[in-house]
């Protein structure tokens, strides 16, 4: 990943800057094909995902970008098959290629077809695929100790005794650079700072050595310094454990620093995907461009401060019950073509360099 040099300076703060995955990235780990997840509410059906396709290779880091409500988190939850009620995967495949272990050969599981409460889904969830959530403050049970919560995860997926699980836990806590891991074991979440809690979350997520880690805006709720530490930590751990990461964020800076390949989503659809350089240097979709535009720049009149960067794009994400006809982005699009964009939703075009975009501007 030599192209990600511009992002390096951030890591100078930690004085520890490597960002390359050691695993062969050509082997496909996860394939998402035409995934549709809908929420069946009394007021109507919310089409949270309207046909999402992308692929994750082993060891690869994928960035999932978009504004709030565009379906990033639903995608993540669909992969884990923990879509909250009344949501349901209605169409598509989530093919997860499980690596072989001592007990069983490698297999391909369609997570979309599994009973979400069944044992196979549960063994993959947390074992092969794990997740780090956005809110480290509330993502841990307030009434159980850190140790108990991690040990539970280990006991669920690994065949080991309580003592062994404790040892692993301590080791994991040490790995995420928590001081005095034995002490942390007995602490409750409210006794830890936000950054520490997120480290705990990461430790828990990695405790079963998953092949895929989904990180749903893991640093949003943290201050900048801690953000950087956590990101660095994740990079290190990825290097060490060799897992693939799906990184969900609306922070393009983080994307630039962390990922290999970017998937841009808008209202439940993938509007553009490409490797990180193409996205930053040659964005194609008007939405991607306005996303990039919304990043504040020094020396230029800032439209909005950090706190309101999401509204920096003109207009707001439409009400989920009344998604506009045609291209869903057209009401906010500066390049919209009347009579075209407001009637037909374009298909995903493949441009050179595995760059895909969904916009009439690139119609052949």
């Amino acid at each position: 990943m030599p192209d990600r040099q511009p992002a390096q300076p951030i890591m100078e703060q930690t004085g520890n800057g490597h960002a390359s995955a050691p695993v062969d990235t050509d082997e496909v780990l996860l394939e998402i094909k035409d995934l549709k997840t809908h929420f069946f509410l009394d007021q109507g059906v919310v089409h949270a995902l309207e046909g999402v396709d992308f692929t994750v290779n082993r060891g690869q880091t994928i960035g999932l970008v978009g504004e709030s409500g565009c379906g990033k988190s639903v995608t993540a939850r669909s992969i884990l098959s923990i879509v909250p009620s009344p949501g349901r995967i209605v169409q598509g495949e989530i093919l997860f290629h499980r690596a072989p272990t001592a007990d069983r050969p490698g297999e391909t599981v369609d997570m979309a077809q599994l009973n979400p409460k069944g044992s196979l889904a549960r063994s993959i969830r947390g074992g092969d695929i794990s997740m780090v959530f956005q809110e480290p403050m509330t993502s841990l049970s307030p009434v159980h100790t850190i140790g108990a919560q991690i040990i539970e995860a280990i006991s669920l997926h690994r065949d080991c005794s309580q003592e062994e699980a404790t040892e692993i836990t301590v080791e994991m806590l040490r790995r995420v650079n928590l001081p005095q891991p034995e002490g942390v074991l007995k602490r409750y979440p409210h006794e830890l700072s936000g950054g520490m809690r997120q480290r705990v979350m990461i430790a828990m997520a990695l405790s079963c050595q998953p092949s895929l880690l989904i990180a749903d805006e893991p640093t949003t709720a943290l201050d900048v310094t801690t953000q950087a530490q956590i990101l660095t930590l994740m990079q290190e751990l990825q290097k060490e454990f060799g897992m693939a990461i799906i990184f969900i964020t609306h922070d393009l800076g983080v994307i630039a620093q962390m990922v290999d390949y970017v998937v841009v989503m808008y209202l439940g659809e993938v509007v553009e995907m490409a490797d990180v350089n193409s996205i930053f240097y040659a964005p194609k979709h008007p939405y991607t461009r306005s996303l990039l535009h919304s990043i504040p720049k020094l020396g230029r009149k800032s439209v909005a401060g950090l706190t309101s960067r999401l509204t920096a794009i003109h207009g707001v994400v439409p009400d989920p019950y009344s998604i506009p006809k045609g291209c869903p982005y057209h009401p906010r699009c500066h390049d919209a073509v009347r009579g075209v964009c407001d009637t037909d939703n374009p298909t995903l075009h493949t441009l050179p360099g595995n760059h895909k975009v969904r916009c009439v501007l690139y119609d052949d």
């Binding site: 403050m137 307030p142 003109h314 390049d335 919209a336």
Partner: protein
Amino acid sequence: MSQQEIAWIDRIPDIPEGPPILEESVAEDEKLFVASYLQLMWWRFIKHRLAVIAGVMFIILYFIVALCEWVAPYLPETSFIQYQLSTPSRIRWVHDGKLQRPFIYGVITARDLATNRRTYTENKEVVYPIRFFVSGEEYETWSLWSTDRHLFGIDALIEERSLGVVQGQGLFILGTDRLGRDLFSRIVYGARVSLTIGLVSVIISLILGLILGGISGYYGGTLDNAIQRLIEFIRSIPEIPLIMALAAALPIDMDIIVRYFMVTVLLAFVGWTGLARVVRGRFLSLREEDFVMAARFSGSSELRIILRHMMPSFMSHIIASLTLAVPGMILSETGLSFIGLGLRAPAISWGVLLQEAQNLRSVALAPWLLLPGAAVVLSVLAFNFLGDGIRDAADPYA
């Protein structure tokens, strides 16, 4: 962000700012978005079908409270002398094999000489159709106007035999009590007292509980300690003797309803402690939460922190306890009567009616006298489902 990163961002091609092409549709969207929060709440509420039914019930109940004289077919004190403990009138639709508007047959009463029980048999010769807006006993509504129209009833000759004691056929859709008074009319009149007075005390204790519990949990320390000891102390004052002492303190010639009102208000000053403790418990754990910390550090006023950040997170508990307090208030009426402090005849309330029915002979011989209990249950259900509906609709997490 570092200098370099910004430089990097600068390389992004400029995108023209200015109005998007399809401006007007955006404006509409925004309106839609603003409207949709309330709308969403409404949708959620509508979705809770029972809540809607409860809401309708609630409206009907308070309509009855407002216009009980009109809804009741008879005055609550009118005794039909041959109809003591009459079974509920059978409302029929078919006479002589023909479908008709609802009617009742005339009822012949007789007394079993051995047991002294009255028996009631229908005389199929005499038909009394049930009509709307019939004229009956005269009454005055809200001291405003006087009329003899009632929502429904039958046209039957009623003759006053002695004061408030009448002879003749009546329509008793829920039967009569031991003095031959129409139970339905009495329940309707009873709603007025039962559904109003107690609410005051519920609200007072709610407010006190929120404020003192909130202060206690939020500030902690000495203030918390003091309030906790106060609560402990108040809680440990046994209620019954306290009420009895109060009874002795109130002047004896006080109007019974005013007296009852005073007692409920005084009870509210003892009754806030339960909610206060729960609120405190929640505050104690919430104030450790980072979002509260954050709000505090960012200089939000404390009232704002409490109202905006902490309160909503246990709104559902408050609504639940509130709706639970309503049956408590209706039932406490009967409990208070038990120790001579509640309402008593000639005042009419559901508690009074229930208390009068609260003996073995009513349960055994005239079970319809327990129907005021059904009114209590019905209104409790209405309050609770309505509360549930509102809670769920307003729930920020749902």
